[in-house]
Symmetry: C2
């Protein structure tokens, strides 16, 4: 564990790959935030900067445990992360970074869930770093930004990285593809109409938590836990060789947080022993390579001024209904000399 | 209305762009299915074929009303489409095509909802055409396939195109971006925990239907209808100038289907009168152009044998942990001569 040094931020005009990467590696949270902002930027000179920054910090990344957390709205994801994150910093003395993914807010115009992720306690915590949704315009962009943000956080010495995903569907698959441990949050009495969706998500989960297991709800939560444990027996065996655990949780005390941390530690030990942990990260690396390559091809294509001009003209013609969008795209592609 | 001629299918080895497009334009459903299969194919020679096919049929497309339908699992989307689709064919004598989108099945390995969309009545109906999920490997691929399938269906004379989307999130935005009218299916008593998600989807909806409004449920449905109508008052005004309607539905009789059809017709008349209908399609064309261009750039990049070889070597090095995926991608990109 190392406390973040309170080095003042580098002024934007003085930022270089050299000094920013140094400050990130020293654990400066302001520099970390600046680095993530550069990664999310779409400005052409920032793209080169971001690439160089990643190359620079890569040797320092990879040492954290990466945890994905999902659950439908209302299960208390933010509160859980606040509670569990604070346990990690206060009891375990570990540095915790929280990154949020909300593809709905980046791809559609408005966020489906609104900007409700606050985590006020963690935000003020010296050992914690909280970063809201990246502002990618495509799902691929969101994935790229988040993946690179994980690396920056790791280079800055964060030992527990929590990726929070919102909603049900696409984003789960995305997050599952960049974490070691995938955690599903649940509450008792969630509508039956969600069972269809849950099954798919449940198949991805390494752990399931019945949240809000306190007060009148405690008994029901234990009942739901037993039910889920039974249900999991009918699921296909996890390629990790790990049998998913079901725990109950209450943010009222740290006792339950100990159980969660123990589950995660056990998972890491088991899967490192049987090599799955490393195989999984390697497979994620292959996907990461493929996506970085795609993103890079498109970036370079659109960086070409001839292409930019042609696209502009095509869009104008389409606006005036003078050409079919399909033909317009075909024309640009046919005029484009393939690399040899 | 024109009944599909029962022309026998062209044997795969005899298919040309010429004869396939002719048969599609004549309304042959087997040829239509063959065309869609070619569009979904990733084989390099099929890609060229698909492009030529689209160019050929484009002048015949665009005349249908395109309806997107969404709703969480359990609201009875399939049953509604069966019932409403059969009303369109039997009472209105209109040709109806149903295309399904399930991004979860294409992007993740398994379908979250399973292959449960059957629509047995419509499948056997001469005036109907039902096509399950396209098998794209990316969300962009799914979008491309569906958009082009719509055009093929229109060229084949289908007048009502229904795009069914499954799940909550990404796919809604996708479908909203390719239809004229977006319909949300609902039932009474769906859990409150879904309200957060529903709000975002509700904002996209041009119409909301309370399904299963029969028997004991009829009264509750009317109550829910009134509630939703009140709730819609607090929503931002739709750019179409159209005020979304809330209807109740029961698949037990055609009476309610008349209401739905009337709502859609009214929407089309209103938005064609105020030009929104055309503006919306034009905007969709711009997106379509952008996506076709992206897809094309990537296709051409990966069609290059030097690139293929380099990617293969890079993946091998990554598998052996001999290079970082980021550096591997950067190397290929730096070696790639930009088009000039």
């Amino acid at each position: 564990m190392s406390i973040n040094p309170k080095i003042p931020a580098i002024k934007p005009q003085n930022i270089t790959v050299e000094n920013l990467s140094n400050q990130i590696i020293e654990g400066n949270k302001v520099a970390l935030a600046q680095g993530i902002t550069r990664i999310e930027s779409k400005a052409p000179h920032h793209i080169q900067f971001a690439n160089d920054l990643i190359t620079k910090i890569l040797p320092y990344a990879g040492k954290a445990v990466r945890i994905g957390i999902t659950g439908v709205p209302g299960v208390g994801k933010s509160t859980f992360i606040e509670s569990f994150g604070t346990y990690c910093t206060d009891v375990l003395q570990k540095k915790v970074a929280v990154l949020a993914i909300d593809p709905s807010s980046s791809v559609s115009k408005g966020s489906i869930l609104g900007d409700k992720t606050r985590m006020e306690t963690l935000v003020k915590n010296d050992l914690a770093f909280v970063r809201p949704s990246p502002s990618g315009t495509t799902l691929g962009g969101v994935a790229k930004n988040t993946r690179e943000a994980i690396l920056l956080c790791e280079a800055a010495g964060f030992e527990v990285i929590i990726i929070e995903t919102v909603g049900v569907g696409q984003s789960e698959t995305l997050v599952k593809g960049m974490v070691d441990f995938f955690l599903l949050l649940n509450i008792t009495g969630a509508g039956d109409e969600l069972q269809g969706i849950k099954r798919g998500i449940m198949e991805m989960a390494d752990g399931i938590i019945i949240n809000k297991a306190d007060g009148d709800n405690a008994k029901k939560a234990i009942f739901a836990q037993k039910e889920l444990e039974r249900a999991l027996h009918y699921f296909p065996i996890n390629p990790s060789g790990w049998i998913p655990k079901v725990l109950t949780y209450s943010s009222l005390n740290y006792e339950k947080a100990t159980d969660v941390w123990q589950m995660i530690t056990e998972f890491v030990e088991t899967t490192q022993a049987n090599q799955y942990f490393f195989k999984n990260r390697n497979q994620q690396n292959q996907v990461w390579f493929t996506e970085t390559l795609k993103e890079g091809v498109l970036q370079r294509f659109y960086a070409d001024e001839t292409i930019q001009k042609a696209v502009e003209i095509a869009l104008e013609l389409i606006k005036n209904n003078q050409i079919s969008p399909f033909t317009a795209a075909k024309n640009i592609l046919d005029g484009w000399v393939k690399p040899t």
